[in-house]
């Protein structure tokens, strides 16, 4: 019971930590010698372990622990980073993710992970294939590997000190998990150490320690005349310390920071490179710090609370409208001024509240690099994923929905779009394919584009397939534009892959993508050039909570029709209505369109007067259209979309409701349900 209130936080933070693991692992794959990355992964894993253990998810904690051991090995230089090890660690992270998601879905977070555990243990004991050789080298080179890396001048300092009879130790301190004032404990440790010696380096650096930007562990190197035992004893005397380990440093056992840079430089100008790259590394660190800093200034707010805030605010807006009316009647300058001021302030307030719901698409995009890596591996393709505009913001509700369609599209692009390296080389392309994911704002919309430089879409094949599957007739096929042909691949029951693969082509195809995007009030278009690649462009509304609608009267009731499904409005004469198969239809611009009387569909109490003309709203769902008959058009309006609550669910052809300026509720029509 007590735990349940922390569960949400636990899940959110675990997801973040796992995401951090994924990102850093990908970075590590690119820079296998950068130990600061390993430290990052370690930190994330460690936090995850601690939280999982606290929450009682032992499997999760155990697996994280095993993974941590391997990371520790890498960090201490016992293990070298190899693709084999990374694969296993990635797999472990996958399992961890599955566990966290199972917990989020109300499960117990249990999972059979014996395979991964076995692999991790093998690696840890040095049995893993491909690691043995490197490990041997590591073992002979450094009898006692130092944990910290030292700059050249630091090495000189240590060497000179040792010559003068000082001893150099690395002291690793773990604070207790429940330690409250971490910075204070660090300060006490430093003060003690500095009485008897000189602290020359610490990891994390002192400024981070002071700001408590570390987990539980830190390591300092110290020059002293005292013995190791007495130093360790002193540190242990500080309370709230879990564990202290001390190891002597001797000249020759340094892990020089230079090592990091020697490998990628074939030229023999190491010194210059070192000098150039060291400050660059620092800059990168500084960037990391900058990135991390704002997080300390944010708070988590449940989206429900924001909804309540928004609701109350809308009420305020309605009252503001009334107040404006009243002030007009009185025509009192002071009153007018006050009301005007209130209008301005509430306008600002509205944009702030709306902005609070906005989340950068990064939260969706950041899981893709990992996915692309895995897909490329599975399919033996070389793929580079480029992400642009990850900072573009979208409403939280849209963000939650857009992930799966994008996964589908990316899988599709990699599976069907990008060719194998051999084919690419044969066609004179780079062996590695590029998939570009780009997000940007334009007007009231957000665009997300997915571009690949693969084979492109073969029009003839698509058409033939669509005709075979009965999606279009061969007559219709002749009239289709290129774009319309490409969009056929989004129809249900379509799959162009000649051989079914694991990745896509499992029946649930791109039609799901289109319906999801359309249900969000968005649209998708496809451009493609054979041999050069394709581009899927998704247009989404900035926010789901505000939509543009056409308000209509049906007898005495008001309904709202989303503009996104409206083609046009018209007024037709009664004698233009035709009958076909017991269905009233009209001939509209050469197309036969069925008439739907909203009055009948919604069983509106009738007043019985028949007009001799009909006001119609033409709506569409995909390629199909229908004409909704209403009594009159009220006009276009931006309204706030609201749900009907949990009591009334699945009301036929009603997707939600909105509150009008007079405080009354109008229902929003779900055109998709009306068109069959």
């Amino acid at each position: 019971m007590e735990m349940s209130q922390y569960l949400e936080i636990f899940i959110e933070e675990s997801k973040e930590n796992l995401q951090a693991c994924n990102e850093q692992l990908l970075a590590l794959e690119k820079h296998p010698n950068d130990l600061s990355i390993v430290n990052e992964i370690f930190r994330a894993a460690h936090t995850l372990k601690g939280m999982a253990a606290t929450m009682g998810y032992d499997d999760l904690a155990n697996l994280t622990h095993k993974m941590e051991n391997v990371l520790d090995g890498i960090r201490n230089g016992v293990l070298a980073v190899t693709p084999g090890i990374l694969d296993v660690v990635f797999q472990a992270v996958d399992d961890l993710e599955a566990m966290v998601f199972s917990i989020a879905d109300g499960g117990d977070g249990k999972r059979d992970v014996s395979d991964v555990v076995r692999l991790l243990q093998q690696i840890e004991s040095g049995d893993a294939p491909g690691t043995a050789a490197e490990q041997e080298v590591a073992a002979t080179a450094t009898a006692l590997p130092s944990r910290l890396t030292y700059e050249a001048y630091e090495q000189t300092v240590i060497e000179e000190a040792i010559e003068q009879g000082f001893k150099c130790f690395e002291i690793s301190v773990s604070l207790r998990e429940d330690c409250l004032l971490k910075a204070a404990r660090v300060y006490m440790v430093f003060e003690l150490l500095e009485k008897d010696g000189e602290v020359i380096k610490s990891d994390p650096p002192v400024d981070q320690l002071e700001e408590e930007r570390f987990d539980r562990d830190f390591t300092v190197s110290i020059l002293t005349m005292e013995s190791a035992e007495s130093m360790a004893g002193k540190v242990e005397s500080v309370s709230e310390i879990d564990r202290v380990s001390i190891s002597p440093i001797e000249t020759g056992t340094f892990r020089s920071s230079e090592d990091t840079f020697t490998e990628p430089s074939p030229e023999k100008i190491q010194h210059e490179i070192v000098e150039e790259s060291t400050p660059r590394l620092k800059e990168e660190n500084a960037e990391n710090v900058k990135k991390a800093a704002p997080s300390s200034k944010t708070i988590r707010v449940n989206i429900d609370r924001l909804d309540i805030l928004m609701n109350l605010f809308e009420e305020l807006v309605i009252d503001r409208g009334r107040l404006e009316e009243i002030s007009k009647q009185f025509d009192n300058p002071e009153l007018n001024e006050t009301v005007e001021r209130m209008t301005r302030i509430s306008g600002d307030l509205q944009s702030i509240i709306l902005n609070m719901r906005m989340v950068p698409v990064e939260t969706v995009f950041n899981r893709f690099p990992r996915m692309v890596r895995q897909l490329a591996k599975d399919l033996d393709k070389q793929i580079e994923l480029k992400i642009e505009g990850a900072e573009t913001e979208l409403d939280r509700t849209v963000i939650d929905e857009i992930g799966d369609p994008l996964v589908h599209l990316i899988r599709n692009a990699i599976d069907h779009g990008i060719e194998t390296p051999e084919v690419r080389t044969k066609h004179g392309k780079e062996p590695f394919g590029t998939v570009k994911l780009k997000a940007y704002h334009s007007g009231n919309h957000v665009f997300i584009e997915l571009e690949d430089d693969g084979a492109g879409i073969n029009k003839e094949k698509v058409l033939q397939k669509a005709i075979d599957k009965g999606i279009v007739s061969s007559d219709q096929a002749l009239t289709l534009s290129d774009r319309q042909i490409y969009e056929l691949i989004l129809s249900s029951g379509f799959s162009t892959a000649e051989k079914l693969s694991d990745i896509s082509g499992r029946g649930v195809g791109l039609d799901v993508v289109r319906s999801t995007i359309e249900s969000l009030g968005g649209s998708i278009t496809i451009d493609s050039t054979v041999g050069e690649g394709s581009r899927f462009s998704i247009q989404l509304p900035l926010t789901l909570s505000i939509i543009a609608v056409m308000l209509v009267d049906v007898k005495s009731e008001k309904y709202a029709i989303p503009l996104s499904s409206i083609i046009e409005t018209a007024i037709i004469k009664k004698e233009d209505v035709l009958h076909a198969h017991n269905q009233k239809v009209i001939d509209f611009r050469g197309k036969v369109v069925p008439l739907l009387f909203l009055e009948e569909v919604f069983e509106v109490p009738s007043e019985g007067d028949e007009a001799d003309q009909y006001s119609i709203v033409l709506v569409r769902k995909g390629e199909k259209t229908a004409a909704l008959v209403v009594d009159s058009f009220i006009g276009q309006q931006e309204v706030v979309l609201k749900s009907l609550g949990h009591y009334l669910n699945d009301i036929f052809a009603i997707s939600g409701a909105t509150i009008l300026g007079d405080g009354q509720v109008a229902l929003i029509i779900d055109c998709n349900a009306l068109i069959h």
């Binding site: 009334l648 669910n649 036929f652």
Partner: protein, 146 residues
């Protein structure tokens, strides 16, 4: 158990026709006057529609119709009792909201003899107070099966 027995419960008492009904106060969020209701098509007859309750679109159930009683013209006493049960928030139309009473839990009788009454399915118990008879409603069942 003795402690539990002497516990007090607050009940919201309301009128439907000639009978007095009660709901436990923790399920009641507020009592409102009847405002404009927007009809929602294709719902059961007892669902009157939805209202705007301080920015939240809230469904309204006519308890008289729900219990199979004849509908009555709304009067100035007609009230909407906003109830909350788990994630459902619903307004119940009643003829009048009468009282808030403190009742000892031991005064609530579990198996009431209200046979012959159509709303028997929704009754959780009865409370006898002097000459008053309060029918305690089982909110879960009232809101069930839509």
């Amino acid at each position: 158990m003795t402690e539990v027995m002497t516990e007090q419960t607050k009940l919201i008492v309301f009128q439907l026709h000639d009978k007095e009904y009660a709901l436990e106060v923790e399920n009641v969020r507020s009592i409102e006057k009847l405002e404009h209701i927007t009809r929602v098509p294709k719902t059961p007859e007892y669902v009157k529609g939805v209202i705007n309750l301080r920015g939240v679109v809230t469904p309204i159930v006519d308890l008289r119709v729900r219990f199979g009683l004849s509908s009555v013209q709304d009067t100035e006493h007609t009230r909407v009792i906003m109830v909350i049960l788990e994630d459902k928030e619903v307004g119940l139309i009643v003829d009048a909201a009468n009282d808030v009473l403190d009742v000892r839990t031991e005064d609530i009788e579990d198996s009431p003899d209200v046979a012959g009454v159509q709303e028997a399915d929704y009754v959780a118990g009865v409370v006898k107070l002097d000459k008053r008879l309060l029918i305690l409603l089982h909110l879960d069942k009232v809101l069930q099966a839509l």
